[in-house]
């Protein structure tokens, strides 16, 4: 989530919901990208707008290619 602040004193085990959720989602996946921009403190319309923008710009193929390139390297 956009407002999450990791707890530096407890880096081994995520505590907040968004940290826990992020830890369960694929690193380059759309779900993770959506979670990164989702901010519960924002008005619903603004939240949905951010999600839409992320959906519009997300390129899973590119993400896979990037990952593959990283693997190759």
């Amino acid at each position: 989530m956009a407002t999450s602040t990791p707890n530096p004193t407890d880096s081994d085990k995520p505590q907040s919901n968004d940290e826990r959720l992020a830890a369960q989602l694929a690193a380059n996946g759309l779900a993770r990208a959506l979670l990164a921009v989702w901010n519960p403190a924002e008005p619903p319309e603004r939240r949905r707008e951010r999600l839409q923008q992320t959906l519009g710009s997300h390129n899973p193929g590119q993400a896979s290619n990037d990952a593959a390139a990283t693997d190759t390297n």
Partner: protein, 839 residues
Amino acid sequence: MPPQLTRIEVQGFRSFGTVRQTPDLAGPIAVFWAGNSQGKTSFSEALEFLFSGQIARRDLLASAKDEFTEALRNVHMPSGALVAVEASIICPDGQTRKLCRTLVEDYRRGNAQGCTSTLTIDGVAANDNQIESLLGIRLSQHPVRAPILGQHNLAYLFSASPADRAAYFRAILDTQDLEDFRNDVQAMEAALVAPASPEMNDLLEVELLADAGPGRVQIRKSPKPETLRARLESASSALLTSIGLPVPKGLAAQANAIEAELTTRRSKTFPVDLLRRSAFAPWAGDAAKLKEAADKFLEERQKVDAESQRTLDLFKAALAIPAHPDHPHGDDCPLCGTVDAFGADRVAFVREQVRASEAFSSASASFLGSLRSSILHCDTLAQSLSKALPRFMREQRGKRRAAEFTVAKIKELVPSDGRLEEWLSAVRALARADRALQLRIRAARKQLDHAQKNSQEWSDVGGLIAAINDIASAQESFVQQLTAYEGPARLVGEGISATVDQNAQTSGWESLIRLARNPDALWHALRLDAAHRQKVSDIKKAIREIDMAIGKVTDEKFAELSDEVKFWWDRLRPEENTFFSGVQRRSDKARRTVDLKAGMSVKDDRANPKFRDAVAVFSQSQLHCLGLALFLAKAVQEKAGFILLDDPVLTSDEDYRPNFTSSVLEGLLDKGIQVLICTQDHKTYKDIGDRWLHRNAQQFIMVRNDAVTGTEIRKENDDLATMIARARPATKSQDPALRKDGARQIREIIERFSKCLLVKDRKVKGDNGASITQYDGKNFGTYSNNVYALLTKDAADPGKLRSGFSDVTSGSHDDAPPTTATLARALGDLNRLKKDYLD
């Protein structure tokens, strides 16, 4: 620091009456003792009302809401009397604030919304959200919102629906934000609208067209425009071949061939052409410009008379004569020879006549030009009007019938869904608008013709411009009707075409023709559709992943909650081989079903347990403990600063009561939770008071001697009041043994009252060292006369005390105990004497 209560005030709420009760809570633990029907439940519900504005019991008994009508206001108080609950709260910021809720309207029959109330914080109007934002008290999920465990809501989870139970735990686990995130992502999927595209609709039609060959279904999978074009051509060729027509080269030529055959076939079934019409070209003239030209024309015409116009050439010729140097006063007239007739004045006059005539000529030309232009626009409009109508409206009735274009025929062809009637209505309205516009055009044309032919006499500018404006308004009405006609006409046209095509076996042909004529548009539509499908697929995949991830997070948090519940369970029921095992989702995919699991082992160390649903296998006592453990775990998870427990241990659970008063309370106090306990079990009350004396445990008793005064809350150090309250049930009992015990209690009350009175008198007289303990071991007879002497407020008072003592003293030794009336009278007298002499 979590919020904690320092004082509670209750007035007029249920059993509480006109006298406001104000127990001070100067410590982390307070225990309230009350007999049956003395106000225990009223007290816990008063706190529920304070924090949530409602009482949970009503919501939990969903089918009996109406039965709570007028349930909150003390029934013996007048309707306008104050009903309010207050609490002084030390907030997380260290400030003490006062929260007050006042009942405005009690529960009403038929009103599902509940009661209404007003809320203030430190005397300032507040809303429910400020209970958390200002006071730091976070309320839970409906219906058990306040951190108050009553008998009625302890078993809520075991009877709640699966959805309610899941919502309850979601609130405890604090995962609503994850649900909100998921819902927002899912809403995005619902909001994705497939791009509207006539080409995609046509493609669907073509895919159903078997005669277009098997390759037709490959059209949408074309990887590039060239492939798409080739597959369309293949489909067109297949269709033409299937109907026995030669296949021309090129997609466009094939489309033309199919269309020709389609037109032929359709016309054999129904004159579809009669539905066609052309676009309407509205009036393009400029009435303002025409008016300007007409006004100028009339203005110039007025300046120049007809005679001047006739002699214009003559005037021009005269002006062309050069001036004669020998005639300084003017030339002679060239026509009649009048001497000096053509002087300067005359020349000026002639020049003015010539100028006016020329301006007039110019204005006249302009006006006539505007007239011609307007006439042309009128004629154009009339032609456009005619073509804008569907052809059947321009055909004569006889020709329409000959072509079988009739309402009866159309009715056979279109679905009976009202579209025909709507179309007929639109046709009639369009016909009326057409006639009106035609009339306006003809009227204007007449005016224009008249002005053109009689320009020298014509002067009706107003009439002409009004006629033109009439065209504009009639035209606007016509355009409106034409627009209204479009929708019904399209539906009827589609209905007719579909049936005709079906009859003529040409369904999908028209779609193929359109696609063949514009494959680029189809390619573009296919790209948009693919992008849309990709987005939908991406979101669905993301939602699946989010669901899995939320499930795993929920499992983690359930495990943590289970540990907390186990913590309390093991403090309540340690070393039992049937035990609480965990709270968990029913399966990996379950989102709405939560189970409470019990472990059952044959060994004391709980080894190799078998697991079952706790609701099914736990005894009532175990379920009660599980409800309490869940509530305590919830309080810890939600960081409640205080809790109120209404008889948390069943009377029948004698074995577990010590566990509660010791290790459970110890655990709560260690976690910094302030504990308020209401109980009717005096042993529990006394045990808590004794055990937690070092933590400044506060003890209160609740008694309800008078219905209007209501429940009174007294500090435990008011021993006499406690003794009176405790004796009351025994005085009403039909059990002789209990009444005998009641008599014994009353005798002790008399002795206690007498000692208190003696000590009070000595203190009044300056003996500050006077103490009740100084009378320990002395019986009533040794000091009774001193007591009687102090009962001076009413001459009858000594007799009441003496009589009461006599009644209960004999009762404690004889086989026949005092009657309930005797005991009640003695206790009532003592209560009054206490109020009159000690309170």
